[in-house]
Symmetry: C2
Subunit: 236 residues, 2 copies
């Protein structure tokens, strides 16, 4: 991460966000838990059912999972688009290069841009060939305003966010509460596994997934874990 | 914080640590809770009873609470010493300047140094007129190895750490689980309040404080809060 800062891929604010994530990863036991597996399953089915899925990439994602992004985009034939809160052209270039080094053939986000309403940061600039026309957007480590704006545009949002209480987590259609470095490879695997299923089965998987209930499970998991730790401490 | 990075006071790793702290602050409700008040009370009594207290300052503390550090050092007549994990002389200078700008008259850490055993980072370099001879060391946002090393040298350690599960929190003599920007002003206030008490009362306050039990309270508080949030989410 510190290296990514030096390479212009990350801004300092990205490191603070990374630290917040580390804390929640610690609280979920630094493992992919059942609630994450459930969300990954629903996410894979959603991506396979999508007409025009797009992976929205920011600096943290490029620093952590560039290869997995490319692999997922090949598996579900979806676009990769760079979208940054702290946008500057030097950063867009550095991130694009990191994705291309990881094997990406096409990276959107510095092409024909338009703006989406109700976003007041540079993230409202989206590609006309990407997020603007997407029906499903996968994003990681994103802030709540952005997620809300995309949902309001009737896009299905798949979010990977370690904080089950964040506005992104609460707003997304499907929230994977897991470390993106573990979740993305598992998502690729799950897509491969579900590819052979017919549409009805995939639709059923998506229907049976309740994001609020799943988030409640994630929060309860952390709560129970802390309860046990506090009892250990005073020797109960 | 980002400014402090540019001013050489912080290293990028300090921003990640700050993010981890933000997460726990969020979990305790971004407020000074009872368990923190209890620890602040015991910390104030300990500082007033101390023969040679020292405040150990790192980059994050200098960036966030330089003025409060100086005020506390005036109130309890204790030394201020810079001690860094990622030490370099430029950083020591920048932090010293920040403390002097906040009113510090004497700042140790670039003077007559010696080393303490069993620490393998630059933090083992301590001032012969400061941490080396201190009976009480107050530190914030510190890593576990360092806290353990100081406790092993029979120093009383007062730690300010938002993570009640950290090794620093578990090892310290008194752990204040609170945001340092709220805790330090409250500690100054409490020192002023307890100054008029006689030693017997102060000793009693310290005796009645059980750090493990207090940490268990902090962890239980977070656990209960999460439990309630998860129930809200599914409408129980």
């Amino acid at each position: 991460m510190v290296e990514a800062l030096e390479n212009n891929i990350l801004v300092p604010q990205g490191l603070i966000a990374h630290g917040r994530g580390e804390c929640f990863d610690y609280l979920i036991g630094e493992k992919t838990q059942d609630f994450a597996e459930n969300a990954i399953n629903a996410a894979a089915a959603t991506l396979l059912l999508a007409k025009y899925p797009v992976i929205s990439v920011n600096g943290n994602m490029a620093a952590l999972v560039a290869k997995d992004i490319v692999e997922l985009s090949n598996e579900v034939n979806c676009k990769i688009e760079i979208n940054l809160f702290y946008r500057d052209e030097k950063r867009v270039k550095a991130i694009k290069k990191a994705l291309e080094n990881a094997g990406a053939k096409e990276v959107l986000g510095d092409d024909d841009l338009t703006t989406i309403p109700e976003l007041f940061s540079e993230r409202r600039k989206v590609s006309k060939n990407g997020i603007y026309i997407a029906d499903v957007v996968l994003l990681g480590l994103e802030d709540g305003d952005r997620t809300e704006a995309l949902v309001r545009l009737n896009k299905k949002v798949i979010a990977i966010d370690l904080n089950p209480l964040s506005r992104t987590s609460m707003t997304a259609s499907i929230t994977i509460v897991d470390n993106i470095t573990r979740a993305l490879p598992l998502l690729v695997k799950k897509v491969k596994e579900l590819r052979s299923k017919d549409r009805i089965e995939l639709v059923e998987i998506v229907k049976n997934f309740d994001n609020k209930r799943n988030l409640a499970e994630a929060i309860k998991f952390i709560s129970r874990r802390l309860e046990a730790l506090s009892e250990d401490l005073i020797g109960h």
